[in-house]
Symmetry: C2
Subunit: 192 residues, 2 copies
DNA sequence: CAGACTAATGGCACTCAGCGCCAAAGGTCA
DNA sequence: TGACCTTTGGCGCTGAGTGCCATTAGTCTG
């Protein structure tokens, strides 16, 4: 490797940051605190994350690519809606080992106002993945109304499922997601 | 009226702000700029709006109360989903005179990254109005899964409709909203 | 009319996120 | 050893947001 070697990693920073966030709260933790905990200059943190709000999201971009592939793998025989449904569930399957970290991460993201706000920008990319898939399946342009709506609705159901999952100590994320998708049927008059 | 009279109003500030935003862009307009345009101290702006990001939303809280009432007025014979559908449409009906301002406002909100992010906090209250209504209609608690999902989905459809409306110079907002709601049926297998 | 009272104002000083700039550090390679 | 390259991190700045408090401009009472 050419040039000065990095003195830290994304993982290092996240670890230090999550500890501090849990300890003092997100807003009360300054970037200076984090930099100090990592043993690095404040300026360097910005070389790893564009903003403080981005730290809890970690390497989200990379995981988005996985979501895209997951959807691509869904069988074409499955109706679009069910394919998205299954794709979302598949994408949100985690090993028990990782699950508790994921829960902590999502709890921070979904319950900290600053992060709730910032997350809208991340969700946009997530919706785009669904919109692209639906566009491909239906032959519409990805920017046209139907795929865009599909993206919004998919996100809506996922967020609702996450909230429900986080509020219930013992629930399963997969089940929460399934429930959201089936509730949509309920709402649309398959009874209630 | 007791005490020193206010030297400005929300309307004054919004007018000055929107002009500047249109002229220089949102990010490039400082609160100092706005304060100067209004002829008021920077500190005073914060007495009218909690943050720069709140200015474009105007008096959103008050309009939420109207949304709540609109939903309450929906006939009980209407299935919940349709009641929400009609309520959202009703709430987003504007006179031609106001419509162009509304369009400008929503264009700013939905196309400025900082504001997209911030808006998530406003949407939360909007979703709650739907959740409360659905809770009342179905007998669930407002915090339980079904009403929460309804809130998310309602917002999803409204946002999709707004995006579509803004991207088409000549479209009608009411029609865009109707289209979103019917697209949901399409997605769920009433064909496509 | 004078003086008490009240609420809005706005200046000041401060914290913190974020960014541009640039010299220094710490590696690799010929 | 010295050229080369990339990361680091310090410095200084801008701008949002906040707490504090004296000032201002009204109303109300005697």
């Amino acid at each position: 490797m050419i040039g000065r070697p990095p003195v830290t990693t994304h993982a290092d920073i996240e670890a230090a940051a999550f500890t501090l966030f849990a300890h003092k709260g997100f807003a009360e933790t300054t970037l200076e605190d984090i930099a100090q905990a990592v043993g690095v200059g404040r300026r360097t943190i910005f070389r790893y994350y564009p903003s403080k709000n981005d730290i809890p999201w970690g390497r989200f971009d990379e995981s988005l690519a996985g979501f895209r592939e997951t959807l691509q793998r869904m069988p074409a025989e499955l109706p679009v809606f069910d394919a998205v449904h299954q794709g979302v569930i598949e994408f949100n399957r985690f090993d028990d080992a990782v699950l508790s970290q994921h829960r902590e991460r999502m709890s921070l993201i979904l319950r900290t106002p600053e992060l709730q706000a910032h997350s809208a920008l991340r969700y946009e990319q997530w919706r785009k993945v669904i919109a692209d898939y639906v566009a491909m399946r239906t032959g519409h342009y990805a920017a046209s109304s139907l795929p865009v709506t599909a993206g919004h609705v998919g996100l809506a159901l996922a967020l609702s499922a996450y909230e429900s999952w986080l509020s219930d100590e013992n629930g399963s994320l997969t089940e929460s997601l399934s429930r959201s998708f089936s509730e949509l049927g309920t709402l649309m008059g398959r009874h209630g």
